[in-house]
């Protein structure tokens, strides 16, 4: 009988010791995990365009993280963003609405037809990233380097002088389109 008691006491003592040890370790070496909303927000393209139905990228990230909103609503992000979110949240990828074009959205920037700009500053107020410069009754223009192409300045313009233009391909952002330009390695060994 005593043997059983000894065993029970020994096991209990051990479990207490190890429990205390683990408890201490869990507090001492606690890892501050990156909140999920932050991680989702980091994946979103930050264009603040509102096309998902939320007032910006952060609210959408909160909705996805906390309320289980669908992950396929980010239009500027396209399929890439959806797949990344699916990977992060460990959920099934959700197909995007729309055609092939919706999967890989073309980057556009706003362009102001300066001849028609009346200087009303409405677009400046609408721009979420302060990418439009101008003043009252002075012509406005878009800083195309910081424009996110969110489309929000188009609607408020009273003269409809803002349009979204795809970014022109330059030698800096050209992606070696091998179909249009033949780039070949000459097989030198053929006449060695």
């Amino acid at each position: 009988m005593t043997a059983i008691w000894i065993a029970i006491i020994a096991i209990s003592a051990l479990s207490l010791i190890f429990g205390g040890l683990l408890g201490y370790a869990s507090r001492r070496f606690k890892v501050e995990a990156d909140p999920i909303v932050e991680q989702i927000d980091a994946i979103l393209p930050q264009s603040q365009c509102g096309q998902c139905g939320y007032a910006g990228c952060r609210p959408y990230a909160e909705a996805v993280g906390n309320n289980g909103e669908a992950i396929n609503k980010c239009a500027p992000g396209g399929e890439q963003t959806m797949l990344k979110l699916a990977g992060l949240l460990n959920v099934e990828p959700q197909p995007l609405d729309g055609d092939e074009q919706a999967k890989e959205p073309v980057r556009t920037v706003a362009w102001i037809d300066e001849a028609n700009c009346i200087g009303c500053t409405k677009c400046i107020q609408a721009c979420p990233v302060d990418a439009i410069v101008g003043a009252t009754r002075a012509m406005h223009t878009v800083l195309s380097d910081v424009c996110t192409g969110c489309d929000l300045c188009v609607a408020p313009c009273p003269t409809d002088c803002i349009e979204m233009r795809p970014v022109a391909t330059t030698t800096a952002n050209w992606k070696w389109d091998l179909q249009s330009i033949p780039v070949r390695v000459i097989p030198v060994e053929s006449h060695a």
Binding site: G56, G98, V146, P156, V188
Partner: protein, 761 residues
């Protein structure tokens, strides 16, 4: 055994892993001395011929320029370009440039005058007298960029290596087949190359200077040895021929035994490398004061009858150089800029020679061989054996094809020097380097996007913070304003109410026949009401302005509009899906028409906003006109609620409504004149009514409204006259006094209306 021997050698050399031994194909072009060709008539100078940004233009079309005159200026990575000869700036515009994409870049077009006059050259006999920063600045002003192929601004490179450089390596390896530009330059201008190397060594205060040259250039080695004449400040290191020993990292490994760490720079191990062509250009820039206007270009290939090396002015069209080398174009002729392994096919022959153009290769069809069909990867790992950067090309190929960007990065695709050794050994003829180039471009785009995203987020957050600050400031202001309003207006209201009460207490108004009707009481009442309404409004504004502003925040509105647009788009898509039923569609036609166009939606949103504003104004007016104008004001919002598509249309409709109201009024007045029991107070009420109506309707187009009102007035007058006549004939003088009173009231109303109109106008 070789390694053992190496240990005891003073100038020992190392070896790098991988590498290939393609046929050298250099003898065609390195036998003849450097030639000068006749000048072209027209030069195209791209503003950007280096890694970095293009400089600021400092010439305009029509300007006369001299050889060596800067066309752009700038500092840092904005390297200037110079006029290659004297002439006139013909135009400045985009032109196809020496880039595999064949895209146009901003260029200066110069028509040569044939005189080829230099600008004034600042010659320096002893550069050691100058401060080192001055020498670097002169190198920058001369537009010297790395002439080996990369085109990195030399001055920027020197500045970066000023403190850390212990070993300067002059790269004379020139390992790529066909190219002999550096070989020939060393044979013909060995002294100047060494002089340039000495300038670089002095600027950098390098402990030792190594010249690495492959052993397949015996003439160049001999020329350099002769020029060195036994001096030992520069050490000539002859290295075995192997491609790509001319790569910066590979040559560093060969000559020093050190490897540049992954992700690091050669300055981390105290090494800086310059090409022999660059050394020559530096000598020219410092000693002779000549900016970089020409470089050695190898013209070779079987389609060229006189292969050799020529001095090519920067900006010379490629076709001009080829023409003078006896170019015999063949069907489907391709011309390659650079070597056969790292170069690219030119999209057209009018592209100019730029600072990085070291070779123009025009191969014949037989020289090229049949294009091989790309087969599947058999994972033979021949590419991994050949890779000089110790990468796993077959894995990179796998991830590049599958667009697995993270994996490609994990396998260090950034360390790929695109030498083409892997593609050259590939038994399946896979153009591996092209896949890597695409993948690298993709990764660059991803990095850029990440940077842009971070920036957008930072800007958005900064903006939110600013708006929050402004909102708080505004609220504080409004709180202050509210306090002021409540203090001053409250007294006024109380006084007005007092007055009204006093008047009312005086008893009901009785109009004496013949006397002028006294509507002072009514006026007072109205004044009081107005004051009350004003106060209320002011109070309300002060209270709710921040909120309403928030609600009317254009950004939020825009977001809402965007959401609406997105919904409209979705609805449209759905409708498009349901379009098969034509009848249903035709029934729904007005509905489908609406969301067709996002802009229309935007317009509608704007109209909705405008309507909301109007409705607000209307309610304010209603508050003012409270009891009597109710019918009118009800009517006006009703007409507005019929959703006019256009504000102007709305104005017209409002004007029409007003005119109708006026007509009804006139009719009522006429009736009243008929009516025996007309009372002055009634009249006053009508007048009130009138004013309220005209106040209710805030005409968008004042002029139109004025015209309408004038017409209405005219009509009313006519009606009145007719009425008067009728009254005269029927009653013949009966109730003359009452009529006079009515007429007077009408006249007063008119006068007041006119006044109102004038205020409005």
């Amino acid at each position: 055994m070789l390694n053992l021997l190496n240990i005891f050698r003073k100038d020992k050399i190392w070896d790098f892993d991988g590498g290939i031994h393609p046929p050298e194909m250099k003898t065609q072009s390195n036998g003849t001395p450097l030639r000068h060709l006749p000048l072209a008539n027209r030069f195209i100078i791209p503003l950007k011929q280096h890694i970095g940004h293009e400089g600021e233009l400092c010439v305009k079309p029509g300007d006369k320029v001299l050889r060596g005159q800067p066309l752009t200026f700038g500092n840092g990575r904005m390297l200037p370009v110079h006029a290659p000869t004297s002439g006139t700036v013909e135009a400045i515009g985009p032109h196809m440039t020496a880039h595999p994409s064949g895209l146009a870049e901003m260029s200066v077009m110069i028509v040569a005058d044939g005189e080829d006059r230099w600008i004034e050259r600042q010659k320096v006999s002893d550069y050691r007298q100058l401060p080192r920063e001055e020498v670097i600045s002169r190198i920058h002003q001369a537009g010297v960029a790395g002439l080996g192929g990369a085109g990195f601004p030399t001055a920027t490179k020197l500045k970066g290596g000023l403190k850390t450089t212990r070993t300067l390596i002059i790269n004379a390896a020139e390992c790529e087949p066909y190219i002999t530009a550096d070989d020939r330059l060393m044979q013909d201008c060995a002294g100047e190359v060494l002089e340039g190397s000495r300038i670089l060594a002095w600027v950098l205060q390098a402990e030792r200077v190594l010249i690495g040259i492959e052993d397949n250039k015996p003439e160049a080695i001999a020329a350099l040895k002769k020029a060195l004449a036994g001096s030992n400040d520069l050490q000539l290191r002859v290295i075995p021929t192997k491609y790509p020993s001319g790569g910066a990292k590979q040559l560093t490994k060969i000559l020093t035994g050190k490897e540049v760490p992954h992700g690091g720079r050669s300055s981390d191990i105290g090494v800086l490398m310059q090409n022999v062509g660059t050394a020559y250009a530096v000598k020219r820039a410092i000693i002779d004061g000549e900016p970089l206007t020409e470089r050695v270009v190898t013209l070779t290939g079987e389609a060229v009858t006189q292969p050799g090396n020529v001095w090519g002015r920067l900006g010379t069209p490629v076709s001009h150089l080829l023409h003078h080398a006896g170019f015999q174009p063949q069907p489907q002729q391709m011309v390659i800029m650079g070597g056969p392994l790292m170069g690219f096919t030119l999209p057209a022959l009018d592209v100019p020679v730029v600072k990085i153009t070291n070779c123009l290769l025009a191969p014949s069809a037989s020289e090229m061989g049949e294009p091989q069909k790309e087969l599947s990867c058999i994972r033979c790992s021949a590419c991994a054996d050949a890779c000089p950067a110790n990468l796993l090309p077959q894995q990179l190929y796998w991830y590049s094809q599958g667009a697995d960007h993270d994996k490609a990065r994990a396998y260090h695709i950034d360390d790929c020097i695109e030498c083409g050794a892997c593609a050259w050994v590939c038994p399946s003829n896979i153009p591996l380097v092209q896949y890597y180039r695409q993948e690298k471009a993709e990764l660059r785009a991803i990095d850029l996007e990440a940077k842009r995203t971070a920036e957008a987020k930072a800007r958005f957050e900064a903006r939110q913070a600013r708006l929050e600050r402004e909102k708080l400031a505004r609220e504080a202001r409004h709180a202050q304003a509210k306090r002021k309003v409540s203090a001053s207006e409250q007294d006024e209201i109380a006084a007005a109410l007092e007055r009204v009460k006093a008047k009312k207490a005086a008893g009901p108004i009785e109009i004496q026949a013949g006397a002028e009707p006294d509507n002072a009481a009514v006026i007072a009442q109205r004044e009081a009401r107005k004051a009350l309404a004003r106060a209320r409004q002011a109070e309300k504004q002060a209270e709710t302005e921040p909120l309403s502003r928030q609600a009317g925040d254009p950004r939020k509105a825009a977001v809402e509009a965007a959401i609406a647009r997105a919904k409209a788009k979705k609805a449209q898509a759905e409708q498009a899906g349901a379009q098969s039923d034509i009848a249903a569609e035709s029934q729904r036609a007005p509905e489908t028409a609406a969301p067709v166009d996002p802009r229309k939606a935007a317009v509608e949103a704007a109209i909705a906003r405008a309507k909301a504003k109007k409705a607000q104004a209307a309610t304010a007016a209603r508050a003012e006109a409270q009891d009597d104008a109710s019918a009118e004001s009800h009517r006006v919002p009703a007409t507005e609620a019929t959703s006019p598509i256009d504000p102007r249309k709305a104005a017209v409709e409002a004007a029409i409504a007003r005119a109708k109201a006026k007509k009804a009024q006139a009719a009522a007045a006429a009736k009243a004149s008929d009516d025996a029991h007309t009372e002055a107070s009634n009249d006053a009420a009508t007048e009130n009514h009138f004013v309220a109506a005209s106040e209710t309707i805030t005409p968008v187009d004042a002029r139109k409204a004025a015209i309408e009102a004038a017409i209405a007035r005219a009509k009313a007058k006519k009606a009145e006259q007719q009425q008067n006549q009728a009254a005269e004939t029927v009653e013949a003088g009966a109730d003359a006094r009452r009529k006079a009173a009515v007429a007077a009231a009408v006249a007063r109303a008119k006068a007041r209306k006119a006044q109102q109109q004038s205020i409005e106008d």
